[in-house]
C-alpha cells in the first residue's frame, strides 16, 4: 500500500477502521428523535396490561373477569384458559424448558403473569387490571436454592413431575433442572490430593438485573386480510423472535415481520421472549387490531431477565511457590421457576468453562447444578457472554485467596501463572482455545502506570495507622463471539451472523446486517469497516438493521458477538465485492488482475502512474461495462460462521479507601487496560469501556434483587435498585494494548463486555484487600456502605480509639 501524503489524505477522508468517527446515532438521540417501541403508534391501537400475582407460590382457585369486562373501553381479558385452545398458554424457553405465558393453575413467582387486559388505552387497562378478581390458595414458597433439593421441598413445577430426563441431563429431584460438568474430575481430584497448598472459598454472585433505561415492550399488528403479523419488539435478536413466533403460531415465517426499532439499552435483558410479547401478538390476532404492551419499571426489574444468582464454591491447588496445579469449581445455580436462561442450546452453564482465566492451569473441573426456586425466570448475560462474568469472578477471587494464603503479592502470583505469549493458541484444561494474548505486557503496563510498588508502600503505612486502603487487581480473559455453529446454536439455528452489501451505480453503498444495535454504534462502526475494505467514504454508507423483512438472517447482538461475528461477515462480504471490483478494474484498464494493486480507494496498475480506477468508477462500470460473462451489479452477502471464539483480555487495578466508621468505600483510582485486538473506532471503544465499568461498579457496589423468606422481592424499584449517575461514578482511566485475533478477518475481538466482566471482581478484590491483613479472604457483593460497615463492626474496627 502506498504511503504518500496524498494517499494518507484520501484514507483519512474515508473515516475507516481506526478512526474515532463520531457516532451517527447521536444526532437523533440527543434531539429526542429516537424511535422506540413505545413511540410507535398505529391507527386503532389497543393497549395491554398484565394482572400479576402477589404471591410467590399459590394455586389459582378462580379468576373472575366480569367486573373488568364491564368497564367501558375494555375489549378482552385473556387467561391461560383462553390461550389453551390455541396451545399458546405455554411457550418454549431458549434453555430447553417451557414457561407459562399466563399462569396455568398455579403461580410460581411473585408478579407472575396471570391474565392480560386489552383496552382502548393504558389507563383503562390499568383500571381494569384491578377489577380482575383472582382467588389464590397460598403455597409454601421455596426461596433458598440450597433447600431446593431437600426431600420435603415444595415441588415448584408440577408439569414436570416424573419427567426426569431434563433438556441437558438427568434430573435428580423435581426441583432440579440439570447437571453440567466439564474437565477431568479424576486428575483434578488427584492434583488436589497431591498439592502442597489448597484453598477453598464460597461466594455468592447475587441476583441482579441489567435494568436498561428502556423497558421491554411489543407492538403487534395482525393483518387479517394478508394473514401477516408485524411486530415491533424490543429485541436483541429479531430473527430468532421471528422463527419462534412462526413455530409457536403456525404462521409461515415469511408472513411474520419482526422489527427492532431504536433500542434503549439491552444488556441481555432483551434477548429472551417474554409472555408480554406473546400476549400482545395473540391479542392482536384475536382482535384484529394493533395491540401494544410496554412494561413498567417495576415489572421490568421484577419479571423480565434477571442475571447471575450463582452460589459458587471455588478451590485452587498449588505448590509452595504459588504455581497453580488445579482448579475445582462447584456451582448451585438459581434459575427461578422456569429455566429461561439465554445460553446457546448446548451450554446450560453458558461459557463458564472459561473459568481457568488467563492462567496456565493443567487440571480443572467444574460442575454446575441448576435448580428451580419461586423466583422470576431469567439468567440472562448481563453485559457479558453467557456466564463469563461468574467464571472470571470465581477464578480471580481464588487467585487472590491463594496469594493471601501463601503471603504472595497479588500481581506476582498472576505474572507467575499467566499463559505465556509463546503458548498461544493455548488449549485450556476445560476446552477453551485461547486465540492470542500477551498478559504479562498488559499487567506490567498497568503496574507501571499506577506505580504499584508505591501504592503497596502507602497501604503499609495506612495499615500501620489503622486506616483501610485496598488495591484490587484483576487480569481477566473473556470468551466472546458465539459462536462456531459446530457447537453453538439457538433452538437449532447455528450462531453465524450475516451482512449484505450493495454498492450502487454512483458508488455509495447500503449494508444490512443480522445484528441489531442497542447503543453499540453499529451504524457508525460497520460503515468504517466497509469504508476501509472498499474505499467508499463512511458517510456514503448506509447501515440498516433490525427489520427481518429486509435484513439477512442473523442471531442478533449480545455476548459481544457483533464484532467477532457480524463485523467478520461484513469484512468478508466487502472482500467478495472487492474481488469482483478487481476483475472489473482489470477489464476497464485492459490488464490482468495480477497487474493491479489496491491503494485506499482505487486499483492501480503496478508501476504505471495514472493508470487507475477508483471504486466509484468501478461501481458505475458494474452496471454498464463488465467483462464478458460477468453478472451485472456489485453486491455480496456473507453468512459468517466463526471458526473459533475470540478471547479479549485486560488488566484492571482499583484503589479504594474505606471509612471504617461508616463503611463508605471510595474508589480513589480505577485503571483499566483492555486488549480487544484490532480497534475499529477508539472513541466508541472508550465509550463502551466507560459504560461497562459503570455497570460493573453498579453490580459490585449496590445492585441487588433480594427476596424475603415468603418470596417477596425486595427493592424492585429505582428507589432501591442502584443505577449510578455521574454523582456516584468514579473517574475511569483507560489504556490498551493490541493483540489481534489470528482467525478474525479484521483481527478484532469484541469489547463491550470486558469492562463489566473485568471490573466487578476488581471492586471485590479491592474491598477485600483493604481487610486482607486481618485475614479476610472474601466478602460477598454488593459492597454497600452498610455491608462493609458490618465487616468493620465484626472486626471491631469501628470503635473510636
Amino acid at each position: 500500500m502506498s504511503t504518500s501524503a496524498e494517499s494518507i489524505e484520501r484514507e483519512e477522508k474515508l473515516q475507516g477502521v481506526g478512526c474515532s468517527r463520531k457516532r451517527k446515532e447521536d444526532p437523533r438521540f440527543i434531539q429526542g428523535k429516537g424511535n422506540y417501541v413505545d413511540d410507535i403508534k398505529m391507527p386503532g391501537m389497543l393497549c395491554a396490561e398484565i394482572v400479576r400475582s402477589p404471591y410467590a407460590h399459590a394455586r389459582i382457585i378462580s379468576i373472575d373477569k366480569t367486573e373488568a369486562l364491564a368497564l367501558p373501553g375494555v375489549h378482552a381479558v385473556l387467561t391461560a384458559d383462553d390461550l389453551k385452545p390455541l396451545d399458546l398458554h405455554w411457550m418454549p424457553t431458549l434453555a430447553g424448558d417451557v414457561q407459562a405465558v399466563l399462569a396455568d393453575e398455579k403461580v410460581v413467582f411473585q408478579m407472575q403473569e396471570v391474565a392480560v387486559v386489552i383496552a382502548n388505552d393504558r389507563y383503562i387497562a390499568a383500571d381494569a387490571v384491578q377489577l380482575v378478581k383472582v382467588e389464590y390458595e397460598p403455597l409454601p414458597a421455596l426461596v433458598d436454592p440450597h433447600k431446593s433439593m431437600d426431600s420435603d421441598a415444595p415441588v415448584i413445577r408440577e408439569d414436570l413431575i416424573g419427567k426426569m430426563d431434563g433438556a441437558h441431563s438427568k434430573r435428580l429431584h423435581d426441583n432440579h433442572i440439570f447437571t453440567w460438568d466439564v474437565g477431568d474430575k479424576e486428575s483434578t481430584d488427584q492434583a488436589f490430593e497431591d498439592a502442597e497448598v489448597t484453598v477453598k472459598e464460597n461466594m455468592f454472585y447475587h441476583r441482579v438485573h441489567p435494568c436498561p433505561l428502556e423497558t421491554c415492550g411489543c407492538l403487534a399488528s395482525f393483518d387479517k386480510i394478508e394473514g401477516k403479523l408485524t411486530a415491533y419488539v424490543t429485541s436483541q435478536a429479531p430473527h430468532v423472535v421471528r422463527t419462534v413466533v412462526s413455530m409457536l403460531s403456525g404462521i409461515p415465517e415469511s408472513k411474520v415481520r419482526i422489527i427492532s426499532p431504536d433500542i434503549g439499552g439491552g444488556f441481555g435483558n432483551k434477548v429472551p421472549i417474554y409472555p408480554g410479547y406473546v400476549t400482545a401478538m395473540v391479542a392482536s390476532i384475536v382482535l384484529g387490531r394493533p395491540v401494544k404492551w410496554v412494561e413498567s419499571r417495576i415489572e421490568n426489574l421484577t419479571t423480565t431477565g434477571f442475571a447471575r444468582d450463582w452460589h459458587m464454591e471455588g478451590e485452587l491447588a498449588a505448590d509452595n511457590e504459588g504455581r497453580i496445579k488445579a482448579l475445582r469449581v462447584n456451582v448451585l445455580a438459581d434459575h427461578g421457576a422456569f429455566d429461561a436462561c439465554a445460553d446457546p442450546s448446548k451450554f446450560p452453564a453458558g461459557m463458564f468453562h472459561i473459568c481457568t482465566g488467563s492462567y496456565d492451569i493443567p487440571n480443572a473441573y467444574a460442575r454446575v447444578d441448576g435448580v428451580y426456586t419461586n423466583k422470576a425466570p431469567g439468567g440472562v448475560a448481563y453485559r457479558c457472554s453467557f456466564r463469563v462474568t461468574e467464571a472470571v469472578y470465581v477464578v480471580e477471587r481464588m487467585v487472590d485467596v491463594l496469594a493471601q494464603k501463601l503471603g504472595m503479592d497479588k500481581a506476582e502470583i498472576r505474572l507467575k501463572n499467566f499463559v505465556k505469549p509463546e503458548q498461544f493458541p493455548y488449549p485450556t484444561a476445560l476446552g477453551a482455545n485461547l486465540d492470542s494474548g500477551d498478559y504479562h505486557t498488559a499487567l506490567n503496563k498497568v503496574l507501571d502506570a499506577v506505580d504499584y510498588k508505591e501504592l503497596r508502600k502507602e497501604q503499609e503505612e495506612k495499615r500501620a495507622n489503622g486506616e483501610l486502603m485496598g488495591i484490587g487487581i484483576v487480569t481477566f480473559t473473556e470468551i466472546v463471539g458465539a459462536g462456531p455453529s459446530k457447537s453453538c446454536d439457538i433452538l437449532g439455528v447455528g450462531m453465524f451472523d450475516s451482512a449484505e452489501i450493495r454498492v450502487h451505480p454512483t458508488g455509495s453503498a447500503l449494508a444490512r446486517m443480522g445484528t441489531i444495535t442497542q447503543g453499540q454504534a453499529h451504524q457508525t462502526t460497520y460503515a468504517q469497516i466497509i469504508a476501509t475494505e472498499l474505499g467508499i467514504p463512511s458517510e456514503e454508507i448506509q447501515i440498516e438493521e433490525g427489520d427481518t423483512d429486509t435484513a439477512p438472517y442473523g442471531l442478533g447482538t449480545y455476548g459481544s458477538r457483533t464484532t467477532p461475528v457480524g463485523a467478520a461477515a461484513t469484512a468478508v462480504a466487502a472482500r467478495k465485492i472487492k474481488a469482483k471490483a478487481a476483475k472489473i478494474a482489470a477489464h476497464l484498464l485492459e490488464v490482468s488482475d495480477d497487474d493491479l494493486e489496491w491503494d485506499v480507494d482505487r486499483f492501480k496498475v503496478k508501476g504505471v502512474p495514472g493508470q487507475e480506477k477508483t471504486m466509484k468508477d468501478i461501481a458505475w462500470a458494474a452496471y454498464n461495462n463488465l467483462p464478458e460473462g460477468m453478472e451485472p451489479g456489485l453486491e455480496a452477502v456473507d453468512y459468517y460462521d466463526p471458526p473459533e471464539y475470540t478471547y479479549p483480555f485486560g488488566a484492571y487495578l482499583c484503589v479504594v479507601d474505606i471509612d471504617k466508621y461508616t463503611g463508605v468505600t471510595k474508589v480513589r483510582r480505577f485503571y483499566a487496560l483492555d486488549d480487544c485486538g484490532t480497534r475499529i473506532n477508539p472513541m466508541v471503544i472508550e465509550g463502551q469501556i466507560h459504560g461497562g465499568l459503570t455497570e460493573g461498579y453498579a453490580v459490585a457496589m449496590g445492585q441487588e434483587l433480594s427476596f424475603d423468606p415468603e418470596g417477596n422481592i425486595e427493592g424492585n424499584s429505582l428507589m432501591d435498585y442502584f443505577l449510578p449517575t455521574a454523582v456516584e461514578t468514579p473517574h475511569w482511566e483507560t489504556d490498551y494494548t493490541v493483540t489481534p485475533s489470528p482467525h478474525h478477518p479484521l483481527g478484532a475481538k469484541g469489547v463491550a463486555e470486558s469492562p463489566h466482566v473485568g471490573s466487578i471482581p476488581t471492586f471485590t478484590a479491592a474491598v477485600v484487600d483493604a481487610f486482607a491483613h486481618l485475614d479476610v479472604t472474601h466478602m460477598n457483593m454488593p459492597h454497600s456502605a452498610y455491608r462493609v460497615w458490618q465487616k468493620c463492626h465484626e472486626l471491631g474496627l469501628d470503635k473510636a480509639k
Binding site: V51, R52, P54, Y55, A56, Q110, V129, Q130, V132, K133, V134, Y136, P138, I298, D708, P709, E710, G711, N712, I713, E714, G715, N716, S717, M719
Partner: protein, 192 residues
C-alpha cells in the same frame, strides 16, 4: 414478610368489662383504624375490610376473620384474619391471640401476641417500614380499645371516652400516621 408483635395495653377499666368488649368482634374490629366488620357469616366467621390511605394511594383490604378459640377461663381470644387488597397486588394475614389479665401494678391489661405476614406490593415497598407501621396501628388500636372499655363504665371519664369513640377516625390517615411512624422511629433510635 413476617412481623412478630407483642403488645401490652393498660386499660383503665375492669377486667370483666375488658373481656366482655374483647368478645364483641365488630366492636374490636372498629378499634383498628380503618377497619370494619361487614358481615357475620356464622358464629366464628366474619367478613371485614380495612382501608388505609398513604399519600395518594388508598389500599383497601378485604378478607375473612375466623375465630379459632374463645377461652373464658384465660379470658383469651385467638383469631386469624386473611385478606387481599381489592386491587389484587397485595395480601396480608394476621394470627392474633388477645387476652385480658391483671397486671403487676394491679391494673387491667390487654395482651396481644400476633404474627403478621404480608405479600405483594405492600411487602415490596413497605417492607422496611412494616414493623413501625404495625406497631403504630396497634398503638392506635390499643387507645381505641381502652376508650371503648372506659366508655362502658360510668361517670365523666366514661362520657368523655364515649365522645372520643364516636369521633374516632374511620380511616387510617396517611399523613398523621406517617408522622407518628416517624416519631416512633426516632424514639426507637434514641430510646434504647
Amino acid at each position: 414478610m413476617k412481623v412478630d408483635l407483642d403488645k401490652v395495653f393498660e386499660i383503665d377499666g375492669s377486667e370483666k368489662n375488658t373481656w366482655t368488649f374483647l368478645q364483641d368482634i365488630p366492636g374490636v374490629a372498629s378499634c383498628m383504624p380503618g377497619a370494619e366488620i361487614t358481615e357475620q357469616v356464622d358464629a366464628n366467621n366474619y367478613k371485614g375490610k380495612v382501608r388505609a390511605k398513604v399519600g395518594p394511594a388508598t389500599m383497601s383490604f378485604e378478607g375473612d376473620i375466623e375465630i379459632q378459640e374463645i377461652n373464658e377461663e384465660n379470658k383469651s381470644l385467638h383469631f386469624i384474619g386473611k385478606g387481599q387488597d381489592t386491587k389484587g397486588t397485595s395480601a396480608a394475614e394476621m394470627d392474633l391471640t388477645a387476652s385480658v389479665r391483671k397486671g403487676e401494678s394491679g391494673a387491667t391489661e390487654l395482651v396481644g401476641v400476633a404474627t403478621v405476614t404480608v405479600t405483594g406490593k405492600v411487602a415490596n415497598f413497605g417492607g422496611r417500614m412494616m414493623t413501625q407501621v404495625a406497631d403504630q396501628i396497634l398503638n392506635q388500636f390499643g387507645k381505641n380499645f381502652a376508650n371503648n372499655v372506659v366508655a362502658m363504665g360510668e361517670g365523666e371519664s366514661a362520657e368523655e371516652a364515649a365522645k372520643v369513640v364516636a369521633e374516632q377516625p374511620k380511616e387510617l390517615n396517611g399523613l398523621a400516621f406517617a408522622w407518628s411512624i416517624f416519631v416512633g422511629y426516632l424514639k426507637s433510635l434514641f430510646g434504647k
